[in-house]
Amino acid sequence: MRKDFRIPAIVILAGALLGLVFATYSSLDYAAHLDRQLHDVHCSVIPGAPPQGEEGAQGCRAAMYSAYSAVLKGKLWGGIPISLFAQGCYAFFAGFAVFLLVAGRRASRSAAEFVGVVGLTPVLVSVVMAVISITQLGTFCHTCIGMYLASLLVAVGGIMTLWGASARSRGGVLLPIVWLGSLGVCTAAPAAAYAAVAPDHTPYLSSCGGLKLAEPPPGVLVSLPGNRPLQPALMFEDPLCANCKAVHLRLVQEGIIEKLDTRLALLPLDSACNWMLDTPLHPGACSVSKAVICAGPNAREVLEWAFDQQHYLLRAGERDQQQGYKDQRTTREVIRLRWGDELGKCVGSKEAEQRLNRHLQFAVDNTVPVSTPQLYLSGRRVCDEDTDLGLRFALTRTAPELVR
């Protein structure tokens, strides 16, 4: 007795519709950022629900700004988000599920085999993306989790159709090829539509100003040379700023950091040393900045440690602030425990204080915005929005050697 395809078809349809909803939210969030502004993102396993505060949205932002969120990033500002391919794919499976549902017992073995095999592709892609999330981003995007679940439903439904499919007639030999072709067309169509209407960002790339001084004073800034430096770069960073961490990770993921001969100007957003602020945005950042300065050739290692331990270091800084420790002794102790007495002593020295002061004076001499991070290539500022979604596109046009 042949099994009915109705239940598997309903499972596939449910998965496809769920995936369609999540992928559409994801694509629309991505598309909204094409105006170069910041927008809220949907980031919940409940379709359309708002994220639980900014922290709840962080996973989705991290995924969206990552190198893995889109393809053809060098050709199109922000690239073509992969969620568009998911939308097309889920639209196909929604149609195919309706076909199985309506055809019922008339559906052939080849239809069952097709959906049983090809229905695994979304879940395989999900597995790849989940591994990337864990290993590269260190966080999960809730909307992506929704898509993972949807792909699992499609795969489960597909496998269910295989049960008892052998009792059916094979059906048309060419049909699987037609379906596969249709799947390809469906998958590519949203991406093609997106690319066709996406605006050109080239005129906006050089709209963010530049440095007044071409050359920083020799020996003042921190040198962070990459392995294969091709282009000098200047960055203003605060080791305790979350966006600095995100941009740094992006430059690492894109393999760009190794092609830069970076000079780092520290701009801690901490009023303990930065007179440009009335209150500390990142308490403890002054001491951590001094640690980066004191680290000399190990500056990148200390900087990356600070990025990695931002939450913990900020808590230490907050404690210093609450206790009225102007010397930031708690933060300095955390630094000493990790990097040893010599570096700990250096952080408390007048020399480190003066050098950090020269970094801040360099910011003043250039009248740069009191914000971090800032990336300058050949004296021109790379706009903030071009350091996240548009990074590859901007570099392809302004410094193509970095993205080759």
Partner: protein, 253 residues
């Protein structure tokens, strides 16, 4: 997507009632697939077009919040009056970059500052903790070790300040002309040391020099309590005026 099944794709067993026309499943699937795709395409293109529109014509809501620009410190003692005097002195006496002049003589200061001696000194009172007093020997212009040490300390404590001031004086012992020259030499001694210390080619743009001789804004013994280069030395009216007052000034002009 076109999942039209051929007639052979439908597997109807003998005796089973057909559940509808053989092409119904294909048509329904195709219709559902196309409808889904159409919805996706409409949503995507409208989302992108809306963003493109905002990019081209950013509304007020899209204006980025103004970000402060990095600038020098501006603290409470930078009163309008203080800044006015500071500005006059700096611009009129010149930081030597534009006018080729360096420093101001007592008559210049009196003219440009346009305030009384007492008011002039009072302007610098808030700099008690920020500044220091370099003391010199009678008729002397050379810096001793204590003077160098204090100068180094004060110079290195720049923080966000823009200008460094040297205000040299002489006691009222001797002629006015001699004291004017002596206070000039004292100011120069400080400046030369800073040049040696910093090797900064732009030092002239940071340091403002005034030499007041004995004629203008003499200090009272009240200033003996300030941070001096000779903390153990007896301080009287003569001693406190054989000095150069030094300080960074945390004001924007």
């Amino acid at each position: 997507m076109n999942p039209y099944p051929s007639a052979s794709a439908f597997d109807v067993q003998p005796g089973e009632p057909p559940s509808g026309p053989p092409y119904l499943g294909g048509v329904a699937g195709l219709g559902a697939g196309l409808l889904s795709l159409l919805i996706v395409l409409v949503l995507v293109t409208s989302g992108v077009s809306a963003a493109a529109g905002r990019l081209k014509n950013p509304g007020h809501a899209a204006q980025k919040p103004a970000v402060a620009l990095a600038d020098h410190a501006e603290v409470a003692y930078c009163t309008p009056q203080f800044k006015q005097v500071l500005q006059r002195v700096l611009h009129s006496c010149g930081l030597s970059d534009k006018t080729g002049r360096r420093g101001c003589q007592p008559t210049d200061v009196r003219t440009f500052a346009n305030i009384t001696d007492t008011d002039f000194n009072a302007l610098f009172t808030p700099l008690k903790d920020r500044g220091g007093v370099i003391m010199f020997d009678v008729s002397g212009k050379d810096l001793d070790d204590g003077a160098r040490q204090l100068l180094r300390e004060k110079w290195e404590a720049r923080r966000g300040a823009r200008y460094f001031f040297i205000v040299a004086r002489a006691s009222q012992t001797g002629t006015s002309a001699k004291n004017r020259a002596l206070s000039h030499e004292r100011a120069n001694s400080v400046m030369f040391f800073l040049q040696e210390l910093t090797r900064d080619p732009d030092l002239d743009k940071k340091v403002g020099m005034l030499w007041l001789g004995e004629e203008y804004a003499q200090l009272s013994t009240e200033y003996c309590s300030w941070s001096t280069s000779r903390p153990g030395q007896k301080c009287n009216e003569d001693a406190i005026n054989r000095t150069a007052f030094i300080s960074w000034v945390d004001c924007r002009l």
